[in-house]
């Protein structure tokens, strides 16, 4: 027994010096991302995390004397198979308490941003979202009356996004529908912040430009099928069904039931469904040529300039085959991290306040998404959007949509 104890002590002594060495005071700047890593958004978020990692690797994990440390946090839970408010709150609190954290990249879902924004705002921590697109998060007058004030208890802006918000996406979606000759539309939403928000924008603009709205309904995302709804829609005979919602909230099943019932020739969804999981869930035969997907940017293979460089670097680093493309949001993960890393050298003090200030001053940034700035609300000035469809079970770019 004694021998054992002695051995443990000896070992402890032997280890101590090497520990002391790594503990040498090191200047660390920590970046956290909080994205749904469990569940069907996983494919999408994996490529976003890859994009973030790529941006960090390009500076070899160092800026000046500072080492960049990155932690990939999950805000989903297996029970929900989707983002979970409890987990998102936990992540935000953890990040707020850790002094070395200087930026929080996230969230993927707008509903999740609603939870972490006030927490991080009080902590004065910079937040950059690559994907949350609900307008009310940043724009006064575009959401509820008290938005976005309730997310900014200190009154300062700490939330930025590199992706254009849904007041643009819903708008161009309605325009695109009209271009395709749609005259009557039936609108569904998943009753979540993002889905309902974008469906509202779509509905309002559709009415403005003379598309008749035959019906508007919130669905039960966990229902086993939507056949009854499909019958109701079929009886209304729309030219198009618009669903504001995500893959996780049954977009695939809706596409399937509408197609099976032959209820509509066209089915349009927003960027929450711009992921391969949507086609997998719906079954290719149910969406080929009939599904239309809007996306707040361009698919990877349509990017130019820095964007094309990003695509090449990404494909090389993650060993993608010739015909494989990163998912649509990969470039947003990259851009969110890249704009941050480029702002750090400009920051007067390398702490939360200094870096937040530096990022907020981003103007005419030449990035993978083109040349853009952050406006006074923290939104990107970028407005490039794309319309996509599905062909042979793959997304296919149709056209650039713009305001």
């Amino acid at each position: 027994m004694l021998k054992k104890i002695a051995a443990v002590f000896l070992l402890a002594f032997a280890v101590t010096p090497s520990l002391a060495q790594t503990e040498k005071p090191e200047k660390v700047l920590k970046i956290i991302s909080s994205l749904p890593r469990t569940g069907s958004a996983n494919a999408q978020t994996t490529t976003m995390v890859n994009g973030i990692q790529l941006a960090i690797d390009e500076v070899h994990g160092k800026i000046g004397d500072y080492t960049i440390v990155y932690e990939d946090m999950d805000d989903a839970s297996p029970q929900r198979g989707n983002w979970d408010p409890a987990v998102e709150a936990q992540n935000a609190n953890k990040a707020a308490r850790d002094e070395s954290v200087i930026a929080y990249i996230g969230t993927f879902n707008s509903g999740a941003s609603k939870i972490s924004m006030p927490v991080l705002n009080k902590a004065g921590l910079l937040m950059i979202s690559p994907a949350a697109t609900y307008p009310g998060l940043t724009k006064p007058g575009k959401g509820e009356a008290n938005e976005p004030k309730i997310y900014r208890p200190t009154g300062k802006i700490n939330f930025f996004r590199v992706v254009p918000a849904d007041d643009l996406q819903g708008f161009v979606a309605a325009e695109w529908a009209k271009d395709m000759g749609v005259k009557k539309v039936y609108i569904l939403d998943d009753r979540e912040l993002y889905g309902k928000g974008i469906a509202n924008v779509f509905e309002n603009h559709a009415k403005e430009i003379g598309i008749e709205v035959l019906g508007r309904e919130g669905i039960d995302p966990k229902a086993s099928n939507f056949k009854s709804l499909a019958t109701k829609i079929k009886a209304a005979a729309p030219d198009m069904v618009y669903f504001g919602g995500t893959t996780q909230n049954s977009a695939g099943q809706i596409a399937k039931d509408l197609h099976t019932a032959n209820a509509t020739p066209k089915f349009m969804v927003p960027d929450g469904c711009f992921e391969k999981a949507f086609i997998e869930a719906a079954g290719a035969e149910n969406v080929n040529g009939s599904a239309y997907i809007t996306f707040g940017g361009l698919p990877a293979d349509k990017l130019t300039g820095r964007g094309a460089e990003f695509r090449a670097a990404y494909k090389k680093k993650y060993n993608l085959k010739e015909n494989e493309e990163p998912e649509g949001y990969a470039v947003y993960g990259y851009e969110a991290c890249k704009v941050l890393l480029d702002a750090i050298p400009k920051a007067k003090t390398k702490d939360r306040a200094g870096i937040l200030q530096a990022v907020s001053e981003t103007k005419n940034y030449n990035g993978a998404l083109g040349i853009w700035s952050f406006d006074e609300n923290g939104d990107t000035t970028n407005t490039t959007m794309s319309g996509n469809t599905v062909e042979n079970g793959e997304f296919k770019f149709v056209k650039v949509l713009g305001k």
Binding site: T38, G39, S40, N42, A43, P78, Q79, G81, N82, R191, E217, G218, I219, D220, K222, A223, S224, N225, F226, K227, S228, L229, T231, K232, K234, A235, A237, T247, S250, G252, Q253, K256, T260, A261, N262, A263, P265, K276, A277, E280, A281, A282, G283
Partner: protein, 345 residues
């Protein structure tokens, strides 16, 4: 009805001339109503088949077997795995029928055996202990099964075309034709799938009734349900009878899981929660412990869901279903067909 038919034929001839291929035929109100009823009955039959599993177990050991819905999830995952492994999508003609029969039988055997095992491992050691212990054990089993399904979904299913995103909803190949039996031009759609649900469910229900009413095992089951101690004194092996109940209830759940997968064409690790909830509600509505009650309850819930989705709004459907449940229980505490029983929960 006759006028509608004439109107239908007329509208078809004109619609056929003017519209593009595959465009909709205008639906009158009676067509919509019939369509909703068809959907409601098909959905209700599936719910009923699962509800039987709840009601049988409750009838015999007064346990609400929360794991039953999730058992069905695993049945669907087994079916999807078999479809992929045996390449069933390519089986055509009689092969298609063979594929469906293979799936039904394998899932039934699998779920029956699994349900029997669950009883043996998690419930039987708790017999005679407080009822609450049994209930907690059932909830635990439900969690375990959900997580097995999550793990199963994470296996590299892309070889089967299912993708390997553990929690993603998985597309279940259409093995049963979606062709309209009333002809492509008809406003009302009755597909092979709707027919399939009825063709499989009705004989199973009749068979079960016969089994419970007329066989030795059925007699033993009824005896155990009435009074386990007295049944044991009469020489009935109570544990064996309870085991068989789980086996049969599980097998029906297995059938239901394949019907569910072929009818809805999507499966996910969470589907058991919702279907289980619907089935449990159906069992309570019909009168828990009563077999015909489960069937009636299931069909009523299927119809209410369809009509509420169709004529009220989808977002109110759950409120309507549970509102009806509450009203029924207030005026008939033992459910629609339930016998007046002694206090059970």
């Amino acid at each position: 009805m006759c006028e509608t038919l004439v109107a239908m034929i007329l509208s078809q001839t004109t619609a056929g001339a003017t519209s593009v291929a595959g465009a909709q035929v205008a639906m009158g109100w009676s067509d919509v109503l019939s369509q909703q009823l068809i959907t409601g009955v098909s959905n209700g039959m599936i719910i009923a088949l699962i509800a039987i599993g709840y009601t049988m177990v409750y009838g015999i050991i007064e346990l609400i077997n929360f794991a039953h819905g999730d058992l069905c999830t695993l049945g669907s995952f087994l079916a999807l795995t078999l479809v992929g492994a045996l390449g069933m999508e390519a089986w055509s003609g009689m092969g298609g029928t063979a594929a469906v029969i293979t799936l039904l039988i394998s899932a039934a055997i699998f779920c029956g055996a699994l349900n029997w095992t669950i009883d043996r491992v998690a419930y039987r050691p708790l017999r005679g202990k407080p009822k609450l212990a049994l209930l907690v054990s059932a909830i635990g089993c439900s969690f375990i099964l959900v997580n097995i399904a999550l793990f199963w979904g994470g296996l590299p299913m892309e070889v089967f075309g299912g993708g390997n995103q553990a929690a993603a909803p998985k597309d279940f190949p259409s093995l049963i034709s979606n062709e309209n039996l009333l002809g492509a031009r008809s406003a009302i759609t009755v597909t092979w799938r709707d027919l399939f649900v009825v063709i499989v469910t009705v004989p199973l229900m009749i068979g079960l009734t016969w089994l419970v009413k007329s066989t030795r095992l059925g007699k033993a089951m009824r005896a155990v349900a009435q009074n386990p101690t007295a049944a044991a004194l009469m020489g009935i092996d109570v544990n064996r009878v309870i085991g068989s109940t789980f086996l049969i209830g599980g097998a029906l759940g297995g059938f239901a899981s394949v019907i569910y997968a072929l009818y809805n064409n999507t499966i996910s690790f969470q589907m058991g929660y919702r279907t289980g909830m619907d089935a449990f509600t159906a069992a309570v509505l019909g009168g828990i412990g009563s077999l015909p009650g489960a069937v009636v309850g299931g069909i009523v819930i299927g119809l209410v869901r369809a009509l509420s989705d169709g004529y009220i709004e989808a977002r109110w459907t759950n409120s309507v279903v549970f509102g009806i449940l509450i009203l029924t229980l207030v005026f008939r505490p033992s459910g629609i067909l339930g016998a007046k029983l002694r206090e059970k929960v």
